[in-house]
Each structure stands twice: as C-alpha cells, then as structure tokens.
Subunit: 195 residues, 2 copies
Amino acid sequence: MKEILVNYMKQFADLSEADLISLAENVPVGSFKKGTVLLHQGEVPDKCFFILKGCIRQYAIDVSGKETTFNFFTEEQSVTIFNQHSKDKLSNYSLSCLEDCVLVVGDLALEQDAYDQYPVLEMMTRKMMEADMGRIQDEFSSFVASTPEERFKALLEKRAELINRVPQYQLASYLGITPESLSRIKKRFDITHLK
Amino acid sequence: MKEILVNYMKQFADLSEADLISLAENVPVGSFKKGTVLLHQGEVPDKCFFILKGCIRQYAIDVSGKETTFNFFTEEQSVTIFNQHSKDKLSNYSLSCLEDCVLVVGDLALEQDAYDQYPVLEMMTRKMMEADMGRIQDEFSSFVASTPEERFKALLEKRAELINRVPQYQLASYLGITPESLSRIKKRFDITHLK
C-alpha cells in the first residue's frame, strides 16, 4: 500500500526509487476504524495525515448547532488543518473517518526535526503545499462562481465516486444545498446508473 | 517601506534584525500604476508578489463572459497563483492593481536558486504558506457556511477598510451577491458612517 505514497512523493521530489521507498518505509502508518474522530473542533491539531485508503470528512458545528461539511478527502490526498500560525491555534474543524482508513500519520511537533534530518522533505512538503494551495484556490473559486447545479456537475466530472461513498446529507452540505435540492439535482442528472 | 516586509518575515523566521534587514534589502521592489494587469487569465504565472502598499484584485471571466472577483489582497499579504503542479500550468485568474501599488516581486523561475542560496528562505516560505493555507481554509469554510449577510458582517469585522476601497460591483461579486443585494445589506447595517 505504500506504493501509493511512493508514487505521490515521486511527483514532488527528484529522488531515486530506492530513496523514495526508504523514506516511505520510515513513515508511521496507522489503521483507524470508521467513525474515529481524528481531531475535535476546539482542540490544538498535533497530527497531519496522508490517506492510503479510506475517506476523511472535515466539518464544523456553529454556535447555533448547525453542522457544515467542508471537505471529503480520499486516497492520495493529504489532510492538515493549518492553524499553527493563528492566534489561539485551536482547530475550527473536526476530522473523522467516514470509512475504515489506513493513514500516514505525521507528528506536527516533530516536523521541524524531520526537515532538519532530511532537508529534501522540506522541499517536498513545500511543493506538496503549493499543489494543495492551487487545488484549494480552484475549489474555492469554483464554489463562489457556480450554481449548486454546476457544483454537482463538476463533482460528477472530477470526483464521481464520492457521490455514492458519503452520506447524502453531508454531500448536500458540502455543495451548499439542502438534501432535498440534492435529490432533485440528482434526478435531473439521471445519475441512478451510478449506483 | 521595507519595514513592512521585515515585520512580516519576523513572524516566520528566527533571524536577527540585521539578517532580516539584509534579506529585505536584496528583494526586488517595483511600483505599478493603478490598472496594471500583473497576470492575465490563460498565461503561465512567472511572478509572485508581496504587497507593501496598494490593493490587488484576483478575478476571472467564464465562458459566458461573466466576471467573478475571488479575492482582494492588501498590505502585508502575499499573492501567488499556485498552479505550477497543474497539468497545463495556465492561470485560471487575472491579477490587477486596483490602486497604485508598491510590490515585492518574486521570480518563480529563480525560486529554487534562492532557496539553495538561502536555505532559511525555504523554511520561511513553507511557514508563510502554512499561514496562507490556514487563512484560505477558513475563508472558504466561512463562505460555504454563511449567508451573504453574515459574509458582509464578517468583512465589516475583519476587513472593513475594503468596503470603501474597492468598486462596489466587485465587492458584491466577491460576496457572491448582486450589487443591488449589497446595497440593501449595507443599508440594513447602516454603514454610511464609514464613508
């Protein structure tokens, strides 16, 4: 399964296959049961994750009790709540496993030590973050510029597997619509063949 | 004016005041007239910016000709379109100066050389990107979870100066509403005293 990690790292660092495998061998991997909460809203995040298998949901509950789902992360995505540089350092989000997950688990407190030991890691992390920044810039912009129907169409084109992989009320929240609107849109797109 | 840059860098690197000043002395700074387009949608970005003075707008025009404003950047913000790792590397956005601007201008092609020459820069850039990622995660989430009225309230609390600094139709677009809705919301908040 660490092949996934090796292939991912290969995109960002000019290292030999042997070096990449050796790096991958040294990262801690953990298995987490469906339903595990990896980070609670209001806690200080101390870990970052890379998904080898499974699906993680990022969500928050506001003061009125309303829950909003902000993202779903799946295989070959990294998951970090970046608030080390905010004032209180408390996470505005929870992260939980929507499926049984196999994850690379990074310890944020040891991050600088790892960079000092393997300088190539710092370059790789910077490049991975650049790619993540590009993705989040585009996702944000698409969300602002699109109607709910267009958002659903984009999801169908880019991440169709999500549609049957996550609870529909969470998917609706992620698209910024009610579950009823999502049902209507799905009917219009006639996506029953996906099931 | 480079004091702004020194103070910004200070947050991310444990360097002496002398080293920071020396770093700041070596970065290229340029002046750009209001209306200058720094990057055209569809071009490959080759520069990144840090604002010492002025305001930059990030926007795009879709296939139907509709223009959407995605962000306004002001003093002490860095502005980069991160698509070096995308397939075609073409920018989905334009960047233009809404005011006369004084900007630190980084050359993306020379970035790796600069890191090789000053390794502390790579660490600093990574930390600056972490802070930017945290900010964009929160802005995106706020946008998804908020009504237009709540978005305006947040803007009033966090970046009130923008309200009188940018054209109102662009501000409305940024908030995901029509200019007419923005006028109504402003009346409800009775913000005429800001003028």
